[in-house]
């Protein structure tokens, strides 16, 4: 009984893959796989229907990369500060504040993007920017994933044994050297994994993209444009209540399968990094 309970996670993964593959295969009965992967037009909801997934993929990539450029510096700096500089009280307070940040539902972040980041932060800075933009989505997802980078990296740095720091100090290292030449390299695998996990989280984020990204599918690399990500497309079709069995309905599974595949690859890489590089101190 207990055995089957703990195998549930494995069964769940198998079921997820199976479902997505079966549903997608219906979609690929209508649309060729080559067209899906290489096409640059995605007009599933109106005629003439085109099924090139690239615009969605590009939008997802752009928003996720913007998110990383926000989250990596802020998250890492926070982690270094908390692990190496802050006193115990400051560390406790800031850590719990950051965990608070992580517990806020993503729909609230979507609201934040639409009613704060876009109008108060971005639109005054960039002329001609609309309420919906990839930039607003990316920035907000960036804020959302700061806790992932900060918290996991901090764990990795904090668990670097004090022995290393003392050894470095005893060799005449300054604090900078200790932090950047000893602690950071020793925690590198954990930091790397945290960044990859944050990246997959950014790719899978739905509500922020659905609220602040707009539903216009537009093949563009310009982050100032409103663009639809893979997740917000799925959300849009779900909202519109597409009839079961239609190509529109099936298309969300194909997009879902692609998203699942990409995030899975990154997740596995992150997990392997952590396992392979883990040093037994």
């Amino acid at each position: 009984m207990l055995l089957s309970a703990s195998s549930l996670s494995f069964i769940a993964i198998v079921v997820i893959i199976g479902t997505l593959v079966i549903e997608s295969s219906i979609f690929f009965g209508h649309v060729s796989f080559i067209e899906f992967i290489t096409g640059t037009e995605w007009t599933v909801l109106f005629e003439p229907k085109k099924f090139g997934v690239q615009p969605l993929v590009v939008a997802t990539a752009i928003t996720s990369l913007i998110a990383l450029t926000v989250a990596i510096p802020v998250g890492l700096a926070t982690a270094i500060y908390l692990s190496e500089y802050a006193g115990p009280t400051v560390r406790r307070i800031v850590k719990s504040t950051i965990e608070l940040l992580a517990g806020i539902p993503t729909v609230v972040y979507g609201y934040f993007a639409l009613y704060f980041i876009s109008p108060n932060l971005l639109m005054p800075l960039i002329e001609g920017l609309g309420v919906h933009s990839a930039l607003a989505v990316g920035l907000t997802i960036g804020v959302l994933i700061i806790p992932i980078v900060a918290s996991l990296s901090e764990d990795a740095m904090y668990s670097v044994p004090e022995d290393f720091r003392l050894a470095a100090y005893s060799l005449g290292a300054r604090k900078m050297d200790v932090v950047f030449k000893v602690v950071l390299p020793a925690a590198l695998s954990g930091i790397f994994a945290s960044i990859i996990l944050a990246f997959t989280r950014a790719m899978g984020e739905t509500m922020i993209a659905a609220i602040a990204g707009g539903f216009r599918v537009f093949y563009s690399f310009d982050p100032r444009e409103a663009m639809q990500t893979m997740t917000s497309f799925i959300a849009q079709v779900a909202t519109g209540d597409a009839p079961h069995g239609t190509v529109e309905y099936q298309s969300i599974f194909a997009v879902g399968l692609l998203l699942f595949f990409v995030t899975m690859v990154f997740n596995v890489i992150a997990l392997l990094i952590v396992r392979r590089w883990q040093i037994r101190y």
């Binding site: 055995l3 908390l82 950051i98 940040l101 704060f116 739905t206 969300i252 699942f260 997990l271």
Partner: protein, 296 residues
């Protein structure tokens, strides 16, 4: 002569640049912390200033309406309670069982690593994917329709890893001596699990359960896929009813252009955040209350 040379080395070191950087580093780094925290502050301030005036009990007593002045989220509130409550009934017992097994029974290391690997993977799957699978398997495959139970199952499986990990951690905190003592008295493994491990690790397991519940309450994407965006003006009466939840109601209001709905969504967010804070406070209280009891 050697003496003075050596002595001078103590006094002098030409790395002024590093010295200055050493002084600057904490200032630069804490700026980042300040940025992160000001993001939380900006978020909370925006929500509270926009939604404060609209906050009233009617918000959870009234049904949604096209007229923002009279609209509430009664159906979403109840929908959330039903769905999340039901999902906890699935994830908590299953998660605790799995955690117990992992920490206490699964001695074969490759298996344990395999399960942990899968669980970490499952935790990394985007939530909307769970929605798709729920839609395909439960809504249409099992014919449950776009119902509460379909949503609850989806959320339950999604939050299962959270409970499992917390439960496994809880079991690991029990001192080995306590278990050995029980075994020494001739207790069987099942008895030790039932009388020593479960009662002692339950508080920590509960914090894991609360974590899973808070996660489920805030989740919008998978429910959106399963239930669609609905306008519901009645209370749920059975688990096979169609439903909506608070985050979806907020999404609906946020997406509308009128300022009145924006205020409404802010007020709804305040309710949602208060609910989450209450849950968190409970978790912390439980942890704090039982933390010191297990020191041998």
């Amino acid at each position: 002569m050697a003496d003075t040379l050596l002595a001078e080395r103590v006094l002098e070191r030409k790395d002024t640049r590093k010295k200055i950087l050493d002084k600057l580093a904490p200032i630069i780094l804490s700026t980042a912390v300040f940025l992160a925290i000001s993001a939380v502050a900006a978020l909370l301030i925006t929500v509270v200033t926009q939604g404060w005036s609209r906050l009233s009990l009617n918000l959870i007593l009234e049904y949604p309406s096209a007229n923002p002045a009279r609209a509430g989220m009664r159906s979403a509130f109840l929908g959330s309670l039903w769905t999340v409550g039901l999902s906890a009934l699935i994830s908590v017992p299953l998660g605790i069982a799995a955690g117990l097994y992992l920490a206490e029974w699964a001695r074969w290391k490759p298996f344990r690593r395999f399960v942990e690997f899968n669980m970490a993977n499952l935790a990394g799957v985007p939530s909307i994917i769970f929605g798709l699978v729920g839609l395909s398997l439960l809504t249409y495959g099992l014919g449950w329709g776009r119902s509460i139970i379909a949503g609850a199952f989806t959320l339950g499986i999604m939050t299962l890893p959270l409970v499992t990990v917390a439960a496994a951690e809880a079991v690991k905190t029990i001192p080995e001596a306590l278990k050995q003592g029980a075994y020494a008295l001739g207790a069987t493994k099942l008895q030790v699990t039932r009388h020593i491990i479960l009662p002692n690790s339950l508080p920590m397991m509960m914090t894991g359960a609360i974590l899973a519940i808070s996660r489920a309450i805030g989740e919008a994407a998978p429910i959106l896929v399963i239930s669609g965006l609905l306008f519901i003006r009645q209370d749920p009466t059975s688990v096979f009813d169609r439903f909506t939840v608070m985050p979806l109601q907020i999404y609906n209001w946020v997406s509308r252009p009128q300022v009145a709905f924006q205020e409404l969504s802010s007020a709804a967010i305040i309710v949602l955040l208060l609910l989450l804070m209450a849950l968190n406070a409970t978790a912390i209280a439980i942890r704090y209350r039982y933390q010191k009891r297990l020191v041998l």
